[in-house]
Amino acid sequence: MANRHLAHDTPELRARWGSFAWTEENKAKADYHIAKYPPGRQKSAVMPLLDLAQRQVGAETDTQGWLPLPVMEYIADYLDMPVIRVVEVATFYFMYNLVPVGKFHVQVCGTTPCMLRGSDDIIAACKKRGMAKGEVSEDGLWTLTEVECMGNCATAPMVQINDGNYEDLTVERLDAVLDALAAGKEPKEGTQEPGRHTSEPSGGPTTLKDMVDANHDYRKEW
C-alpha cells in the first residue's frame, strides 16, 4: 500500500486551488462538525473537514476528489492549526487522496480473505480494462488502488468504488458493475450474489437453524 506521496507544490497547483473556499452548503457542514467539539478544540474536526474538502474538490472536478496542498492550508487556516498537523492526518489515512483520482476510484481489497477468494483476478480484470494502480485512466473515469481490509471478509472479494461497496465479485460481476457505472447508471451496491441480501451465510443459516422461524430455547440441548 505504499507509494503514497503528496502532489508537488507547483505554481499551477497554487493557481488552480489557491482560491479554494467552502461552498455555502459545505461551510454550514464544516461549522456543524466544528460545533461538536468544545470551544478551543476546533482542530478535533480536522478529519471530517478533510473529507468534506475532498468531496468539494471532487464535486468541482467531477471525480472522487483529492486534497491539494492549498486546500489543506485552507483547512489549517480554517481550524487555526499548524498546516503540518493537517498534512500529517491527510497522509496517515488512506481514504484521503493525495493526488488526483478518476471519476470512479476503484479500491480493490487485497488482504488475505479477499485474496483467497480471488482478488487477484479482480485486479487483473481491472488492469485489463486499462486501469493502472495509482493512475487516472485516459478517459478520466478510473483510478485503481489496492487497499487493505475493508471489513467485508464474509462477502469477499470486494471493491469499494467511491462511497459504494460491491461485494461477492467475480470478474463478470465486476465488469457488469463497472459497465453500469461507466454508462452513468447506479448499479446495486452491496453483495452481487443473486439471492443474498447482506453478509448472511450464503445458502441459508449454518448455525442456530431453529431460530429462523421462532425463538427456540437451546438450553435443554446443552
Partner: protein, 669 residues
C-alpha cells in the same frame, strides 16, 4: 507515595512517577529512545520494556506506565533481555550500517544501546528502506534513512519551541519526519533537535564531518550571545573551537541553547584581530605592542581617560580596566553603549528578580518593550511554560510573533499607568504577578513607571519578586555591579571629553562624539569598534580566557578557557596590566588570581557562583509616568547581534536565508 520493588530492591517513588523513573531512582539503567524528561511521553520506540507484576504476562513500556503501590518490577530478567534484543533488532532492520560515515558516531544512543542491549547480529536479509533527505534549513543536516521515528524532534518543536513545523508524514514503514514542504526550521531554538535526535538522522550541518567526539577537548563555558548566560560546553580541537553544546542547568537553560549561542563559534576564527594595529595617516597599519603602548602614554591622559565595556566582556576584564582608571584617577566607566541612562542606584531595580525558573510559576505577566523571542529565546521557553500553567501574558510594544497566546496592549507606554480593565483584573487577581521590562522600555525611560507598576500591583510580596528587567548583553549585570554606569550614560562620558577612550570590545557604541580622543580598541574582532579605533590591541574572546559572567537574573557564573587566542592576541587583563606599566601607574595585581581576588574583595558577590543578592526593590515614585511609544525593538537581526556572530559565516547564512529569505527570492525573480 507508592512503594515499588525494582529487582528486589524496595523503594518509595513520588506520586505520578512512571515505572521508568522508579527504575532510575533505583539506579537501574533503562535504555530508551523516544522518552525524554522534558518532552511529553510518546511510548513508540518500545526500548524501555520491563517486566511488571501485577500485569499482563508480557513486557511493558516502562516510560508510559505509572508506578503504583506494590508493583514488582524486573529489569534483569530473561524476558526483559530478550525483549530488548528483539526491539533493537527491529529498530536496526531499517537502520543503515553507516556508523563510520555518520557524524553521530561516538555519541549515538542507538550505537551505544545496540552494543549494550542488542543481540549482536541481524537475521534480516530483505531490502532495507531508504528515505530521501529533507531540507530543514542551514543548521540541520538530515539523513532520514537513519531515522527511527522516535518523534522527539516533533515533540520538541511543538511543545518546547511552540513552532509547529516538524511533523511525521505517512504511516508505518513509510513514515517520514519532515517540515512542511521542506521549509527551513525557522525559530531560534531549532538546532536543539540535533541534540535530541538519538541517532544520526538530524545532525549539525555546519559541523558536518568536522571532528569525532573523542578528539575534542571539552571545556565548561558560558554563552555570551545574550544575557541568559546559558551553560555551554565548548568542544575544541587544537586551537579551534569546533562546536558549542548546552550543558544541563535547570535554573538557567534547562538543556537547550539558542541557535546563535550554538553556531556563532565559527566566527571565533574569522575576522580576528591577531596583530597590534595603529592608525597612521588615516590608515590602520600593523605595529608592535611597544609602539602602541608608547603612543597611548604619549597622549598623557592623566585623569582624562574613559573605559567603555562591550557586550561580551567578562567581569575580570572590566575590573582590570576599572583598576587602571582608578589608578589614573578617573571614574569614567560605562557599559551601556547605546546611550541608555536608566537609574542604577539599586541593582534590584534592574535585575530579573523572579529568576528564569520562577517566571514559569507566574500567573500574570506584563512584557514591556521586549521581543523576548529574540532577546532571550530561552526565557521565551519559560514564558511558554508559564502560559501552559495558566498564566496570562500582556505585551506593550510593537507586534512580534509569540509562541504563546498573548494580548498586545499597543505601543504607547502610558498604558503602564492605566491598564485596560481585562489586564488590570488579571493583575489584581494574580498570586504571582510579574513584569518584564525590556531594553526598548528602558531606553524610553520607563523604569520608574515599571517600579510604580510593581508597587501598585504588589509585584514584590512574600517569597515572590515579580519585577524583572531583561537585558541582552552578557556583560551588563557584571558591568553594573562593577560600577560601569554614569548618571547620564554615554552622554556623560562624551561630555567629559576624555583624551583616551578604552573600548573593551565595545562595538555598538557611537564613536562620533570621541573624534578628538585617542580611541583604543581592546577586542577580538575586526568590527565597528576596530574600524573607528586609532589603536587596536588584539584581545581574547570568551572562549580564550577564564572569566566571570553575571546573567540578567544576577547569577554569577564562571567560564573556562577553551583555546588560546590567535596570533599576537592576549588575554584582556594582561593587556590592561601592561598598559598600566606604560602609563606608569600601579593596579595592584600581577596575575589572574590576584586580579580575581582583588575583584572579589571589591565586589564580594562576584566570588560566589549563584544568584547575587541585590536587596529589596527601591521605593517607587508613584508619580512616575512613562510617555512615548515603543516604535521598535533594539535587535534588528537576531543572528547578527554581536561581533562574533557577525563574523560567523553560519550566522550570516541564517540571517540571509531565514530572516531575509523572501527578499532573496524576490531578487532572484
Amino acid at each position: 507515595m507508592p512503594k515499588v520493588t525494582v529487582d528486589g530492591q524496595e523503594l518509595e517513588v513520588p506520586e505520578g512517577a512512571t515505572v521508568l523513573q522508579a527504575c532510575e531512582l533505583a539506579g537501574k539503567e533503562i535504555p530508551r529512545f523516544c522518552y525524554h524528561e522534558r518532552l511529553s511521553i510518546a511510548g513508540n520506540c518500545r526500548m524501555c520494556l520491563v517486566e511488571v507484576k501485577p500485569g499482563p504476562p508480557k513486557p511493558q513500556a516502562s516510560c508510559a506506565l505509572p508506578a503504583t503501590e506494590g508493583q514488582e518490577i524486573r529489569t534483569d530478567s530473561e524476558m526483559v533481555k530478550t525483549a530488548r534484543e528483539g526491539v533493537m533488532e527491529f529498530l536496526l532492520i531499517n537502520h543503515p550500517l553507516d556508523c563510520p560515515i555518520c557524524d553521530q558516531g561516538g555519541e549515538c544512543d542507538l550505537q551505544d544501546q545496540s552494543v549494550a542491549y542488542g543481540r549482536g547480529g541481524s537475521r534480516y536479509n530483505a531490502n532495507k528502506r531508504a528515505v530521501t533527505e529533507k531540507y530543514m534549513g542551514p543548521l540541520i543536516k538530515t539523513v532520514m534513512t537513519r531515522c527511527i521515528h522516535c518523534t522527539r524532534c516533533v515533540r520538541f518543536s511543538e511543545e518546547i519551541a511552540g513552532v509547529d513545523e516538524i511533523g511525521a508524514l505517512y504511516r508505518g514503514e513509510d513514515m517520514q519526519i519532515t517540515t512542511y514542504l521542506e521549509q527551513a526550521a525557522q525559530h531560534e531554538l531549532s538546532a536543539n533537535v540535533i541534540d535530541l535526535c538519538p541517532v544520526g538522522a538530524l545532525t549539525s550541518r555546519p559541523y558536518a564531518f568536522e571532528a569525532r567526539p573523542w578528539e575534542l577537548k571539552k571545556t565548561l563555558s558560558i554563552d555570551v550571545s545574550d544575557a541568559v548566560g546559558a551553560n555551554i560546553r565548548l568542544d575544541s580541537r587544537g586551537r579551534e573551537v569546533m562546536r558549542a553544546l548546552p550543558r544541563i542547568n535547570d535554573d538557567v537553560n534547562e538543556e537547550w541553547l539558542s541557535d546563535k549561542g550554538r553556531y556563532m563559534v565559527d566566527g571565533l576564527t574569522k575576522r580576528r584581530l591577531d596583530k597590534v594595529f595603529m592608525r597612521k595617516r588615516g590608515k590602520l597599519t600593523v605595529a608592535s605592542w611597544e609602539e602602541a603602548f608608547q603612543a597611548i602614554a604619549k597622549a598623557k591622559p592623566g585623569k582624562s581617560i574613559a573605559a567603555v565595556a562591550g557586550d561580551m566582556v567578562d567581569c575580570e576584564t572590566m575590573f582590570a580596566a576599572k583598576a587602571l582608571l582608578g589608578a589614573m584617577g578617573s571614574k569614567l566607566l560605562e557599559g551601556r553603549q547605546t546611550g541608555m541612562d536608566y537609574d542604577v542606584s539599586s541593582l534590584a531595580a534592574v535585575n530579573f528578580n523572579s529568576t528564569f525558573a520562577g517566571i514559569e510559576t507566574a500567573d500574570a505577566i506584563l512584557i514591556v518593550g521586549s521581543n523576548i523571542r529574540w532577546e532571550a529565546p530561552l526565557v521565551n521557553v519559560r514564558l511558554r511554560k508559564a502560559v501552559k500553567n495558566g498564566a496570562k501574558i500582556f505585551i506593550v510594544g510593537p507586534h512580534w510573533e509569540t509562541t504563546f497566546p498573548a494580548e498586545f496592549l499597543g505601543e504607547d507606554l502610558s498604558v503602564l499607568s492605566k491598564l485596560p480593565k481585562a489586564a488590570a483584573d488579571a493583575f489584581k487577581g494574580a498570586e504571582r504577578p510579574a513584569i518584564i521590562m525590556g531594553g526598548a522600555a528602558l531606553a524610553k525611560g520607563a523604569l520608574g513607571t515599571g517600579l510604580a507598576f510593581a508597587d501598585k500591583f504588589k509585584l514584590a510580596r512574600d517569597g515572590w519578586n515579580g519585577f524583572n528587567v531583561m537585558h541582552f548583553s552578557a556583560a551588563r549585570m557584571g558591568g553594573l555591579m562593577l560600577g560601569y554606569a554614569q548618571k547620564g550614560g554615554m552622554a556623560d562620558i562624551a561630555k567629559a571629553k576624555p583624551k583616551v577612550v578604552l573600548s573593551l570590545g565595545a562595538d555598538e557604541m557611537d564613536f562620533e562624539p570621541f573624534a578628538d580622543s585617542l580611541k583604543v580598541y581592546i577586542g577580538h574582532h575586526g568590527d565597528k569598534g576596530a574600524h573607528a579605533a586609532d589603536i587596536i590591541l588584539p584581545a581574547a574572546s570568551y572562549a580564550e580566557k577564564d572569566g566571570t559572567y553575571v546573567n540578567t537574573e544576577g547569577r554569577v557564573q564562571f567560564a573556562e578557557k577553551a583555546v588560546f587566542a590567535p596570533g599576537d592576541a592576549r588575554e584582556d587583563w594582561t593587556i590592561l596590566r601592561a598598559l598600566a606599566d606604560a602609563l606608569g601607574v600601579d593596579v595592584g595585581f600581577d596575575s589572574f588570581v590576584q586580579l580575581q581576588s582583588a575583584m572579589i574583595k571589591a565586589v564580594p558577590a562576584l566570588g560566589e557562583e549563584g544568584l547575587a543578592d541585590y536587596g529589596a526593590l527601591p521605593k517607587a515614585d508613584s508619580k512616575a509616568k512613562a510617555e512615548g511609544e515603543i516604535s521598535a525593538y533594539p535587535i534588528k537581526d537576531f543572528y547578527l547581534t554581536n561581533p562574533i556572530a557577525r563574523a560567523s559565516a553560519v550566522m550570516q547564512q541564517c540571517s540571509a536565508e531565514l530572516l531575509h529569505g523572501d527578499e532573496l527570492k524576490e531578487a532572484a525573480e
